[in-house]
């Protein structure tokens, strides 16, 4: 089966859509903001399991509300009787400590209450975690830029970086839209998306470069189109297997991995789209030709 779709024709429409999506994402992030978890905002998280299934979310909320813990967020978490509670309070003293909170909540709620997970992040640490997360993402972007610049030409470098920004911004924009929590595992997901998107783009770029040499008379638009078609099966199969693995984590991997796998699923879908509809058109706009890559070779 030979794929022969006319992607080139769709470039414009796709690019306008992408630009609107990126713009909307930026507006979302700026105005709606991000729902930072305790990793980045500081605060305390408690996951508890009540053996009595009569306990309602409102019971849990009211038992925490009496304790002067700042802003409190309670939600059901997986099984019935499992709750995740997050509150603002970052540091404790003799009057209120994790110990006293546990005691008071256990007394308040009927039945046996098991504190399955307790996390507390102080203000200094959360600031550092945020900084190092941002630094890691920036460094990853810079490293990608450098790698592609060494392996290809600068036009390719710019194309792939724009594609990555596109993917990361839209993924985070969606997280903002859906008010999903941004925590350490989301940073891991974003970095993996950066790697994956790059991986996908590189495969097409490799083919474009090869075809530029092979068909030196063709225009870049046609070459891009040809290359995308030639690698299309691979693009789809790899995205499919990756998505199969991710969906398996999302559905079966437990509550803790939900956010991470969702971010990855969004990232993989957008990353696949962007390597075809963002990274490739950019080469066209730069008017990359056989000369671009042969000139570089001479300079080297």
């Amino acid at each position: 089966m030979i794929n022969n779709y006319n992607f080139e024709q769709k470039f414009k429409l796709a690019n306008i859509t992408s630009m609107i999506l990126v713009l909307l994402s930026i507006l979302m992030i700026l105005f709606k903001g991000l729902n930072f978890g305790i990793d980045f905002k500081g605060g305390t998280l408690m996951e508890l399991r009540c053996d009595s299934t009569n306990i309602q979310i409102s019971d849990v909320r009211s038992s925490f509300n009496q304790l002067d813990l700042g802003d409190i967020n309670v939600k059901e978490f997986g099984k019935k009787g499992d709750f995740l509670i997050k509150f603002e309070r970052k540091s404790f003293d003799d009057k209120i400590s994790i110990k006293t909170i546990k005691e008071k909540v256990s007394n308040e709620l009927q039945g046996n209450v098991d504190f399955r997970r307790v996390e507390n992040v102080g203000p200094k640490v959360s600031k550092e975690l945020l900084e190092s997360g941002l630094l890691a993402i920036s460094l990853a972007l810079a490293a990608m830029l450098f790698y592609i610049w060494v392996r290809f030409e600068w036009q390719f470098s710019i194309g792939s970086i724009i594609a990555i920004f596109h993917d990361v911004l839209i993924t985070i924009g969606l997280f903002s839209l859906l008010s999903l929590e941004i925590n350490l595992s989301i940073v891991a997901a974003v970095l993996t998306i950066v790697g994956y998107s790059m991986n996908d783009t590189v495969v097409i770029y490799d083919r474009i470069r090869e075809n530029l040499i092979k068909y030196s008379s063709l225009k870049i638009g046609e070459i891009s189109n040809k290359s995308i078609n030639e690698t299309l099966s691979r693009t789809i199969i790899t995205s499919s297997t990756t998505l199969l693995a991710l969906i398996s984590i999302f559905i079966l991997g437990g509550e803790i991995l939900k956010g991470f796998s969702l971010a990855m699923i969004i990232g993989v879908v957008i990353g696949t789209y962007s390597s075809i509809f963002v990274a490739s058109p950019i080469l066209k706009y730069f008017n990359v030709s056989f000369k671009t890559i042969s000139k570089e070779k001479e300079n080297n």
Partner: protein, 517 residues
């Protein structure tokens, strides 16, 4: 690309077997230390507590500055520098002097070598103290590196004591590490409730024995309230004995009233001093001060010369046990604050392992079915390559005794999804080559050759991202970076050697038949 010499085939499979055999040692119990290696389960999987402690160095900084006061005054007098308005507060020493003295001051202050006032820290190539001159006012404060040095020393000192305290409680395999300049990371597998440990680490346990003075007669006394009885006493600042002189402390019950008490034994020097002071002060009261709180102030009945004594207060057996433990392990130079805490209960860990394994198996099966369906015979090759990839990944994790976390399991599942990419790239390329090429061998050969560069490019980009994550990531997320990075490497190995070898076998067997992928 398709020719494999026998020795090459042998070395490929020997490498594979040698590495993947270690994936089995996790499930078997060998005696040999080399085969005893196992993957460690992270705290999020086995349950346990992660505590990040920070030394509160403000008190230390103040004390350090205070220790400079007498030395500084002495040196100023010696160099005939006249000074006025000498004062000290929390973070600086200040005094005024005339401008003509500035040069002389700078000379003694910035003296390298044996400078008692302002030590030169070779390690940081910087002085311990820094100063500013504004009009006639000289302010002296700890330099940036002076503070770092102080904190770092406090952390080094504290780690040992933290270790002793935790060992005393008897947790299994705690890990206690220095983090940065002012933090200590404590990982306690199996601890479900770290409150007691936090309490024990939150106290410096600075013990001192001091005489109770008559109301304000003596200069150099301070007031304390005995926690128990609320009685106010005034206590001499002179320390007779401190926790340093203790060699042992144990909780006991008092013979008379069956109250829990702490009995202690002193070292030789301590016994002598204690004996002398108690025999000189019979009838007076001796205050026992712990972390700036008076526990009790018993009357000295008799001289205590044997080097053994007891501390009574309103203890429960638990508090007496804790106090004895704190005294045995020694005082911390400064309080430790918990700045980050993550505790996972054992049954959540068990649930996570279960969910992780189930999603790994299902993810794996889905990918295997997909590949078999899509590529038939070659799908089986891809699947064999995938299985050997997973075995090697587990093998390397075991060899490195890496820590497997929940995100780490996610990394393995993701590897399953992404690892087939290399095979897909190869197969798709060969498909194309088969179209224009009559010879099967030629087509496969050039298919491999052309796809390998792309495979390398594509995997290196992901590897870069995951290495950066490894460097910057913390806790469980680091586990993700570890499995993903190793997974990428084993992917390259299994695609480049194992798939290629298996493919070559098929091609050579069917060199004249039509092969479809």
């Amino acid at each position: 690309m398709l020719n494999f010499s026998n020795s090459k085939v042998l070395s490929i499979y020997i490498t594979f077997i040698l590495i993947s055999i270690f994936s089995l040692t996790n499930f078997l119990n060998f005696e040999s230390p080399f085969l005893k290696k196992k993957v460690n389960l992270g705290l999020d999987l086995q349950g346990g507590s992660y505590l990040l402690l920070e030394v509160d160095s403000s008190a230390l900084e103040k004390r350090r500055l205070q220790s400079k006061v007498i030395l500084l005054k002495k040196a100023l007098n010696k160099s005939l520098i006249k000074f006025d308005n000498f004062s000290i507060n929390d973070d600086s020493i200040k005094f005024t002097t005339e401008e003509k003295n500035f040069k002389e001051f700078e000379k003694i202050f910035n003296l390298k070598g044996s400078n008692e006032i302002n030590t030169f820290l070779d390690k940081y190539n910087s002085f311990e103290l820094d100063y500013t001159i504004k009009n006639n006012l000289i302010s002296i404060y700890l330099s940036k590196y002076g503070i770092i040095n102080l904190r770092s020393a406090a952390v080094d000192q504290s780690i040992e004591i933290v270790r002793r305290r935790i060992d005393e409680i008897g947790t299994k395999e705690p890990s206690i590490l220095k983090r940065g300049n002012n933090r200590i990371l404590v990982e306690l597998p199996g601890i479900k409730d770290p409150e007691r440990i936090k309490e024990l680490l939150g106290k410096t346990a600075e013990l001192s024995f001091r005489l109770v003075t008559k109301d304000n007669v003596e200069f150099g006394s301070e007031k304390f309230i005995i926690t128990d009885t609320q009685e106010e006493i005034s206590v001499s600042k002179r320390i007779i004995l401190s926790g340093e002189n203790l060699i042992d402390a144990q909780p006991k019950f008092d013979n008379l009233n069956n109250q829990p008490i702490v009995s202690f034994s002193l070292d030789r020097l301590g016994s002598q001093r204690f004996g002398r002071v108690t025999s000189d002060n019979i009838g007076k009261r001796l205050a026992i001060i712990l972390d700036n709180e008076a526990i009790s102030a018993p009357v000295i009945q008799d001289s205590i010369t044997g080097g053994n004594g007891t501390i009574s207060g309103n203890f429960t057996f638990q508090t007496a046990t804790d106090l004895a433990l704190l005294l045995r392990s020694g005082a911390l130079p400064t309080p430790l604050n918990v700045v980050e805490e993550r505790t996972v209960g054992p049954d959540l860990g068990k649930d996570s392992i279960e969910a992780g394994i189930v999603s790994l198996i299902i993810g794996f099966l889905l990918v295997v079915l997909f590949m078999s369906f899509k590529y038939k015979l070659f799908g089986i090759i891809a699947n064999i390559s995938l299985i050997s990839n997973l075995l090697m990944l587990m093998g390397i994790l075991t060899l490195l005794e890496a820590t497997l976390t929940l995100p780490g399991i996610a990394g393995i599942i993701l590897t399953v999804g992404m690892a087939v990419d290399a095979n897909v790239l190869i197969f798709e390329r060969i498909k194309e080559e088969l179209k224009g090429e009559n010879s099967n061998i030629q087509a496969f050969d050039s298919g491999f050759k052309k796809s390998i560069v792309t495979i390398l490019d594509a995997n290196i980009t992901t590897l870069i991202a995951s290495i950066i994550l490894f460097i910057f990531g913390s806790g469980p997320v680091k586990g993700f970076a570890v499995t993903l990075s190793i997974g990428l490497v084993t992917t390259l190995f299994s695609a480049y050697f194992i798939s290629r070898h298996l493919t070559s076998r098929i091609v050579f067997k069917n060199r004249d038949n039509k092969i479809t992928i």
